[in-house]
């Protein structure tokens, strides 16, 4: 009697161990969930930023009867840095519509973003242009376009941005013919136009490029079937599937010798950077390398292929399994990295006449 009473009090070592083991298992199950909840919160904010950008673009359209030019260079002679009279891009244009009027007011649109007079405006960090999921040492990015690269676009001096506010979103302005060849398994495709293209105004009279598109009426595929802005995070650093690439050192004033150096110069990682006005989707190999290839989401964040001004990799984000895209109707969709390239290309073209289907 006495011994059985004694036995019922307290727990044996095995019982305690079992309880501890169960608690350990539960904690082990829960801890990753906490991290996922944090990433989910960041992803929501990232998505909301895109939604606000969409509203800003539509408000701009209400005012001017067209969407902003994604990117614009006005090149003349004499005035401005190396003859670059002024620059603009879609971010600058929508600043007043995304509650950034103070920045817009100190940004002198008659000058280029690289002009010393615009330093204070360009250095403003706009949280609405930054995806919180993107790992960055600092939200201030430095850009240097060496003189020989600037010369290729008709500017006679190196262009620099110092501690410029970062930018994680890019307009999807075109689809490269090679990407269309790959996704349609064919030859002889032609480049597909996105919702709008920017332009180069040449005051010296040499080969200006004329902007096209940009009005809601130009989007004949329907705004809910046409992508406007997507994530291209982590610029001006170059990433291949989450791995950062380091540019090999080159002497000042010399063309970069690899794609990472190229990205540092014209990756368009600052919101004021006019190079952020062009993203022609060309795709990459599944490890992020190559000229073009079947992978368009989360393989590389290259905005321009090494040696070119255009032919970017596609969309890139730190979200698991895909990236966000803003459609012309203002909705934001999470695009899976397994999305058919054909569907993605159809989404980017504004008047391709494709049936997009479910995505």
């Amino acid at each position: 009697m006495l011994s059985s009473k004694k036995r019922s009090r307290g727990f044996t070592l095995i019982e305690l161990l079992v309880v501890i083991a169960i608690i350990a298992v539960l904690i082990a199950l829960l801890l990753p969930a906490v991290q996922q909840a944090r990433e989910a919160a960041r992803r929501s904010q990232c998505k909301n930023n895109l939604k606000q950008i969409g509203l800003g673009l539509h408000n701009y359209h209400e005012t001017y009867n067209r969407f902003p030019l994604p990117g614009l260079f006005t090149i003349g002679s004499g005035a401005g840095v190396g003859g670059l009279v002024s620059t603009s891009n879609w971010t600058v244009a929508i600043l007043p519509y995304i509650d950034q009027a103070p920045v817009f007011n100190i940004y002198n649109s008659n000058l280029s973003a690289y002009d010393p007079a615009n330093v204070a405006a360009v250095q403003a960090i706009i949280p609405g242009m930054i995806c919180p999921s993107t790992p960055r040492a600092s939200n201030a990015v430095n850009v240097t376009v060496p003189a020989p690269m600037a010369a290729a676009i008709g500017v006679s001096a190196a262009l620099t941005l110092t501690n410029a506010g970062a930018q994680d979103y890019t307009p999807t302005t075109a689809v490269d013919e090679n990407f269309l060849n790959i996704v349609n398994n064919t030859t002889g495709s032609v480049d597909g136009d996105g919702w709008a293209t920017g332009g180069v105004i040449s005051l010296t009279g040499t080969s200006p490029t004329i902007p096209n598109g940009g009005r809601l009426a130009d989007i004949t595929d329907g705004t809910s079937n046409t992508m406007m802005i997507g994530e291209l995070s982590g610029r001006n650093q170059l990433y291949y599937r989450g791995n950062k690439l380091v540019a090999s050192a080159t002497a000042a004033g010399v063309m970069p010798s690899d794609e990472a150096g190229w990205q540092l110069a014209i990756g368009g990682g600052a919101w004021a950077d006019p190079f952020n006005g062009v993203m022609e989707l060309a795709g990459r190999a599944t490890d992020g390398t190559g000229n073009n290839g079947p992978c368009a989401i989360n393989c590389s964040n290259s905005r321009a292929r090494f040696g070119r001004l255009e032919e970017g990799a596609g969309l890139y984000s730190w979200h698991t399994g895909g990236a966000h895209g803003l459609l012309g109707d203002g909705s934001v969709r999470f695009l899976s990295e397994n999305i058919s390239g054909k569907t993605l290309a159809s989404l980017i073209t504004r008047s391709g006449g494709e049936v997009v289907g479910e995505f």
């Binding site: 019982e15 290729a152 090679n178």
Partner: protein
């Protein structure tokens, strides 16, 4: 009690069994065999030349041209899905374009090696086990 412990272990193993590698991108790939070579233009290695492989078989699974670019030593290796993975079995015509300038896109080879119909360079991939195609050094003369 020992039985209870066993069950605990079994349960935890079941939970952990779900953790594994995610599925690879593009699961239905063609089998490719590495194809590489070195490109010299007028006797010296040429960097930044775009090398394109144009499939010639009428019933080839991949119909688009597969491109790669030469590195600083003039070396290139064909890339279909992943860096240097090569080409699926078949006959290919090889073309070369050495574009200069960011916007002008002028061909430093004067367009001489650009047309797949006129190309004298070709490669044949048989698709046999362990096959590696080495094109050796390809010499192009612009003069």
């Amino acid at each position: 009690m020992a039985r209870c412990l066993t069950w605990c272990v079994v349960f935890s193993v079941c939970f952990l069994a779900g953790c594994g590698k995610p599925a690879p991108l593009l699961p239905d790939r063609e089998v490719t065999k590495p194809v590489s070579g070195v490109l010299h233009v007028d006797g010296s290695p040429a960097a930044g030349v775009e090398v394109a492989f144009h499939p010639q078989d009428a019933n080839a699974k991949i119909k688009y041209k597969i491109t790669t670019t030469t590195d600083n030593d003039g070396k290139f290796s064909a890339t279909t899905y992943e860096s240097g993975d090569g080409l699926p079995a078949g006959e290919y015509k090889v073309t070369f374009a050495w574009l200069e300038g960011l916007t002008t896109q002028k061909d430093r080879l004067k367009g001489k090696f650009k047309n797949p119909k006129k190309s004298e360079h070709s490669v044949s991939v048989k698709g046999t086990e362990g096959e590696k195609v080495d094109l050796g050094t390809i010499e192009l003369k612009t003069k």
